[in-house]
């Protein structure tokens, strides 16, 4: 039997016995077979000693059981690792960061506590998935949309606490939340925002409550166990349409992104878009890289190729949501603005009215229409999973050029051939900025995975050197990523550690998450 670090066999057995008393024997998992189910399916350490694995898992069915579990964990100093639906694939899955931790599996807490149609919000528990809430809304015939991430099986709470994103206008999941209930390490229940006022009538309507706004502290962190969370939902719009804008020259990207930025910040273009390059895709299909490699073709050569093959250099499909008349006007206005770029071309895309009719929209961009699904997995290249490197870059053409050059050079330095240069052009998953999502494929091949981890770590450094930080990362790299957020001798991390020591003195909550270690483990990890 694997033990949590620093815990004796005797204490662990006693803790497990008390967990069983709390949740029932059926919901404490300590056999090898059961504990294996808590591995990271997409672990970059498969077959290696280094792979962090849990010692056990415990699955409560409600807040009272969570409180008792934390009390037990405090008594025996058992490190826990909290998961909601445990579908954080590409970022660590359901496995802990610290090997030997006990996974606190909140999947059974799957009640949808309220969905309010008139004020368009929901209050849910951690085990509620996007599929669950969608089904509830469809069953009740409510005119509300959810905003699922690409895979719909994740938890609203889990995903938004990780600050994940979706595709509709409500794509910034953490921003869309309103009010939380948290169980603190000492077992106390705290409600944030308006929830701190007993009998509050606006817990899911006004975010900030009174005094310091603390919700952010529970995102990507280990300061408490979130047991309820409110979310603002989009009222079902009348219509959706999309359209594609294309420009021909390399340097057109600068005005292209300027106009895009204006339109997005003015909320004329909404939701998540992906910048694409039909020309670079073509080059990639011919064996060349997408990135700007030293010794690669010149801009003039690329533009000639583009003209030859009739391929735009840059393009993006833009999305519009709202009343039919309004989205039509927004697309017209968008065309007008982009027409200031000589050679700009447009392609009318799809349009829908809601609710959709049976059989309609089979080929629709479902995630962009608030319909959870798993089709994204059909588009992955990897054989055994992947992990995401996700730096944030400015929303400018210049930043895109710089990233193509910088990462091109980084791969050249690492000797990575073009076909293995995992890169992505920017998405606008979050307002006001671009995010790059490189999906590094994983194999059950130790040597390959080791090399991939080295490349990943190198890219984290290279990105930081250019002022780009990751918005989220895999548990394997949380230390490395938190290290680069080092302003004023890591003032932010030292602040986190001060809070950690005050809120979780026994260090029982998700040690190591986002580089935050409890005091008693801090020296060991330095």
């Amino acid at each position: 039997m694997r033990l949590p670090p620093g815990v004796s066999g005797k204490d662990f057995s006693e803790a497990l016995r008390q967990f069983e008393e709390t949740v029932g024997k059926e919901w404490v998992f300590s056999s090898d077979e059961d504990v294996n189910l808590y591995r990271d399916s997409y672990s970059p350490f498969w077959h290696e000693e280094e792979e962090p694995v849990s010692s056990a898992a415990v699955a409560p069915d409600g807040v009272e059981q969570v409180q008792k579990i934390l009390q037990i964990a405090n008594a025996y100093k058992i490190p826990l690792w909290t998961i909601s639906t445990g579908k954080n694939l590409a970022y660590g899955g359901s496995a802990p960061l610290l090997s030997g931790s006990v996974v606190l599996d909140l999947k059974r807490m799957d009640r949808i506590l309220e969905v309010n149609e008139a004020n368009a919000y929901a209050l849910v528990e951690p085990g509620v998935s996007y599929f669950d809430l969608y089904r509830y809304i469809q069953d009740k015939g409510l005119r509300l949309w959810i905003d699922p991430p690409d895979p719909g099986w994740g938890s609203l709470i889990g995903n938004s606490l990780e600050r994940g994103g979706g595709r509709t206008p409500m794509r910034d999941h953490f921003a869309a939340h309103c009010g939380m209930e948290v169980v603190l390490a000492n077992g106390e229940i705290m409600r944030t925002g308006m929830g701190a006022l007993p009998g509050s009538k606006t817990w899911q309507q006004y975010r900030y409550g009174f005094g310091p706004y603390v919700d952010g502290m529970f995102s990507q962190s280990n300061f408490g166990v979130v047991t309820k969370m409110g979310f603002w939902l989009l009222p079902e719009p009348e219509a959706y349409r999309d359209g594609t804008v294309m420009v021909q020259k390399h340097d057109d990207l600068v005005p292209f992104v300027e106009i895009l930025s204006y339109l997005m910040n003015s909320e004329i273009v909404q939701g998540t878009m992906l910048l694409e390059s039909p020309l670079l895709d073509y080059r990639a299909s011919q064996g060349g890289g997408v990135l700007d490699m030293p010794g690669g073709p010149s801009i003039a050569e690329m533009e000639r190729l583009g003209k030859d093959k009739n391929l735009a250099y840059w393009s993006a499909t833009l999305h519009f949501y709202g009343p039919a008349k309004v989205v039509d006007a927004q697309w017209e206005y968008t065309r007008e603005k982009f027409s200031s770029i000589p050679g700009a071309a447009f392609q009318k895309g799809r349009s829908y009215r809601f609710p959709l009719k049976l059989g309609e929209g089979e080929d629709a961009p479902r995630v962009a229409l608030g319909i959870p699904n798993l089709s994204i997995f059909g588009m992955l290249q990897s054989t055994q999973g992947h992990m995401d490197f996700s730096p944030i870059i400015p929303m400018t053409g210049e930043a895109v050029f710089e990233s193509l050059k910088v990462f091109g050079q980084a791969y050249a330095d690492l000797g990575v051939p073009a076909k293995n240069q995992f890169f992505a052009l920017p998405w606008s998953f979050f307002p006001r900025s671009f995010v790059l999502l490189f999906g590094f494929p994983l194999d059950h091949d130790v040597e390959k995975n080791r090399k991939t981890r080295e490349v990943f770590k190198h890219l984290v450094q290279v990105a930081a050197e250019h002022g780009w930080g990751e918005y989220r990362t895999h548990t394997a790299f949380m230390g490395a990523v938190s290290d680069v957020y080092s302003y004023n001798t890591h003032a932010l991390r030292r602040f986190h550690e001060t809070l950690k020591d005050a809120l979780d003195p026994n260090g029982i909550l998700s040690p190591g998450k986002s580089g935050i270690w409890p005091g008693r483990m801090r020296q060991a990890s330095a």
Binding site: D34, A57, P355, L356, G378
Partner: protein, 133 residues
């Protein structure tokens, strides 16, 4: 693809007609938002495990557009076996349980809090109902 679309539309139309008959819905338009993500499914008249299969498996292994499990099996078997798991006649409970608890390729494994042993028994029963052995 067109045939699948028609079959799917037909199958769903029938299923929905049955479901709504009980509610005695009048001539107003029925609200159906999607033909691919399952709302609550009725198990009436269906074999054991049908409901569990729809709930836990169909998003990847069902029929229609964007089902990555079905797509992967299509690529793997190239028609030698039905890509649709529900149509297989050679599955055994042990095989089904092995894949669910161990995963394969990019299919992850599922915990007991996601798919309980009871649910898994039902899913296995459904997928092996056509195995004559």
């Amino acid at each position: 693809m067109k045939n699948i679309g028609i079959l799917l539309a037909l199958a769903l139309a029938l299923a929905l007609a049955a479901a709504f008959a009980a509610l005695a819905v009048a001539a107003q338009e029925q609200r159906i938002t999607s033909s691919w993500t399952v709302a609550t499914v009725s198990g009436q008249g269906q074999p054991r495990g049908y409901v569990e299969y729809q709930k836990y498996c169909s998003a990847c292994h069902g029929e229609g557009v964007g089902r990555p499990g079905t797509l992967a099996l299509q690529a793997k078997y190239k028609g030698a076996e039905p890509a649709l798991l529900e149509k297989r006649t050679d599955l055994t409970p042990e095989l089904v349980k092995t894949f669910v608890r161990n995963g394969v390729s990019i299919m992850p494994f599922f915990r007991k809090t996601e798919i309980s042993d009871t649910d898994l028994d039902a899913i296995a029963a459904y997928l092996t109902r056509n195995n004559k052995r």
